[in-house]
């Protein structure tokens, strides 16, 4: 087989854990190398994924048609009520708009759409071109807000102005403008917000129920099944629980600074981390030992149901090898633990947006021989999948065809998934999906298995 090397300039973003290997810091949080086929997206994408699930607002993309067209109804974020987030609105800028400016078109679009859909708020995403032609989005938003009486929030997400993480920040900035503008009357002291939980396939509903069983009020989920009114009163909660840390830590920090609300980082994937995320919340209310009792009760009931069901999968999957390449590093930690609990080892672990601390922790967690990558690309991923003889790849839609081409199983753990993977029931679904893909007899025909000839 042809030797595949690492792209020049990327050596420091790849690390193989070996005895005696120098534990140098992995290079990360840099922008992608020109010409490498990064699996990352852009600033706009970061903003769009964070705000997308807010279901009673309109989301209008100010720019040429592509950015709106490619994000129309792509996420599995579901709503219990209004579904404005599943529509795609664009100012669809044309050449003349680029020359003469798009402010008027944006203004008219907003007035008409707000009249038609009567949303609770509007988010305006600026795309690459808007950053160049110099439209004053803030002024247009201010004007429309005054005329319509609803919050009209600019999201400065020009694709080239940073990385996806900067997009998260721009989205959090817009949310911060809403938080604090609603009444906190009647909110319990025993209350939390869940940040970075996007209600993919109804996951936020599952998690919310666990907390409610503990006697905890969930004030606002940001932004899964999101409602503007709930966002406005989020400052009334006693604690922020941050699930997708990559996207929402900046909001948690801002809320801590402005409203004195502390935050904790959690993960809802796998039994271990799911349980911990309930205990950690209980620990925050030490004067209420009944909450911890209830948390233990929830965990015990759920695990009792789940554990025996997992054994079938574990029996089949023990000794199989997985490769993980997902967006945030925190999810990678959980997945390593979740995979171990069903007998699988991890031979490749990576993320698009992890930071130095994340990678340090990843190195500590991983077994000898595990390859760790930051901001990887298809060539690299394939190289390591083949070299390490992985049986499974966990990733998103862009990684899926790599797995299937090479003849290994795949589990979609990205924001397009349609099956809930969070919570205890999510762990069951995860194990089931991994089992269904890894154990499928179709791989016997894959060339790497000799093609069954």
């Amino acid at each position: 087989m042809e030797h595949i090397g690492i792209l020049e300039g990327r050596e420091k973003q790849v690390f193989e854990k070996k005895i005696g290997a120098e534990l140098s810091d992995i290079a990360c949080e840099t922008s992608s190398l020109s010409g490498s086929v990064s699996q990352r997206a852009c600033v706009f994408c970061g903003s769009r994924v964070v705000l997308y699930p807010v279901a009673d607002a309109i989301h209008i993309v100010h720019g040429p048609i592509g950015c709106a067209a490619y994000t129309w109804d792509i996420r599995g974020a579901v709503s219990s009520g209004p579904e404005l987030h599943r529509l795609s609105f664009s100012t669809d800028l044309q050449e003349m708009d680029v020359i003469y400016g798009g402010e008027k078109k944006l203004y008219l679009s907003l007035i008409e759409l707000i009249e038609q859909y009567k949303p609770k708020a509007a988010f305006i995403y600026s795309t690459c071109i808007v950053g160049l032609i110099g439209d004053d989005i803030d002024a247009v938003c201010k004007k429309v807000a005054a005329e319509t009486g609803i919050p009209v929030l600019p999201v400065h997400s020009e694709g080239f102005k940073g990385t996806k993480k900067d997009g998260y920040k721009a989205a959090c900035f817009a949310l911060m403008k809403l938080i604090g503008t609603g009444s906190t009357e009647g909110i319990s002291k025993l209350s939390i917000n869940i940040l970075g939980e996007f209600n993919l396939a109804g996951e936020a509903w599952i998690i919310r129920k666990y907390y409610e069983r503990m006697g905890i009020e969930v004030v606002s989920t940001l932004t899964g099944d999101g409602r503007i009114d709930a966002v406005k009163r989020a400052h009334g909660a006693s604690l922020n629980v941050v699930q997708c840390s990559g996207s929402m830590t900046s909001l948690a920090k801002d809320m801590e600074e402005k409203y004195g609300i502390p935050y904790i980082r959690v993960s809802y994937f796998g039994i271990e981390d799911m349980s911990k995320s309930l205990y950690d919340v209980a620990l925050h209310f030490p004067d209420h030992p009944e909450i911890m009792e209830a948390a233990k009760q929830v965990v015990s009931e759920e695990v009792k149901k789940l554990y025996p069901e997992l054994q079938k999968f574990k029996k089949a999957l023990t000794g199989k090898k997985a490769a993980i390449y997902v967006g945030g590093a925190f999810k990678t930690f959980s997945l390593i633990k979740a995979l171990r609990s069903i007998g699988m080892s991890v031979v490749l672990a990576g993320s698009q947006t992890g930071n130095k601390d994340d990678y340090k922790r990843l190195k500590e967690m991983c077994d000898e021989g595990t390859v760790i990558v930051d901001d990887s690309n298809p060539v690299e991923l394939s190289k390591f999948i083949l070299e390490k003889e992985a049986d499974l790849l966990i990733g998103g839609v862009k990684e899926r065809p790599i797995a299937f081409k090479l003849g290994i199983g795949f589990c979609d753990h990205n924001h397009e998934r349609k099956i809930p993977l969070a919570g205890f029931v999510g762990m069951y679904n995860f194990a089931l999906e991994v089992y269904q893909s890894v154990m499928s007899p179709v791989w016997q025909f894959a060339p790497r298995k000799g093609g069954n000839r």
Binding site: S34, R40, G66, A69, S88, D92, E95, V379, G451
Partner: protein, 450 residues
Amino acid sequence: MKHAKTATQNACKLCNPLGACLAFRGIENCVPFLHGSQGCATYIRRYLISHYKEPIDIASSNFHEESAVFGGSHNLQVGLKNVTAQYKPEVIGIATTCLSETIGDDVPMILREYTKTYRNGTPMPIMIHASTPSYQGSHIDGFHAAVRATVVTLAEKGERQNLVNMFPNMVSPADLRYLKEIFTDFRLPCMLLPDYSQTMDGGPWGEYHRIPPGGTPASAIANAGKATASIEFTSTLAASKSAAGYLEEAFGVPRHQLSLPIGIKESDKFFDLLETLTEQPRPEKYEDERRRLVDAYADGHKYVFEKKVILYGEEDLVVAMTAFLREIGMMPVLCASGGKSGQLKQRLIELIPDLEEQGIKVREGVDFMDIEDEAKILKPDFLIGNSKGYTMSRKNNIPLLRIGFPIHDRFGGQRAHHIGYRGTQELFDRIVNTVIEQRQNASSIGYTYM
């Protein structure tokens, strides 16, 4: 309720660079490269994957703030260098985005500079540049721009050869395979461009391919100027924007423009042309395909007669499908496209002179909210178009027959046939079955023979 008109709501089109990336995927050993932000490449990859279910690597020059201010030359050059090192491509297909177009990067000049700096006597990949600003046109314009740019870059002058250039438009990999089969059966050498029949619908890999096998070799494209004829399937593309138009102008290769051959009449025109070019009758196999199709029309005609359809998609597809629907007695009550060539209505009138009297509406530059508004008035029996119509189909309880691109909520879009007798047969079967299924579902009796 009529919807507001300034904003585009649920677009019935995609952006220019997407089409270019797909077309570049149909050249052998070629890496598509987008000169712009990282997001464009990633979104387009994700979008193409949802339909084709194949890895598609699209490189990006990955603009930063400095590149937007000082120009993208540095990023483009570093990007080309890296792509060359990692993919070892024979061709790099560079398409611009709205960003690089707006700041006015002079890509041809940057490419010359790059070649001068890095050549050092070593062979370099061929670089093709297509200008594809997303604030103009839609994905289909990007597709044609890339095909034309490829021919402009590669075609050479020379002695006439027994060769026909075939520019098939944005058809499925299955359609491309069918075309190659037809040319083989006619024993007519053919330069098919683009040909992503294998790159976007290939087999499993025992080892990693930086670039999937398949596609039209650059050396074959070089011969395009020596061909005896070019055939292009399009109804709306101007000669000034088409590859065949360029070859006619630059090398005197006669340009034969045909509608996408969907339906018996349009397929006949294609086979007639092949007969003329080869001076031999079509192989018996295709007579058989045609006979079976005529027979199927007879068997199925009552199911489809005067069924009302809303048709949407790229303009060329809409024109071709309209011709087909009319020859089986169906009524396209609305022919709609998100594209806006200004040609759609005229082309349809040429097909159906009394279009307006027949109550066939034509609208270009529409979005799905426009189409939905129309559907409420026109009350069609079903919709025919890509998967993007599903939202509207579900909401208004109108069945959707999926054709073209993208198909991301059904399996096998890349293997669906649309063109020629074979493609028409498949479409006809599916249309009839849609009607039968609808009737069966609506029946309280549950007939087992329909």
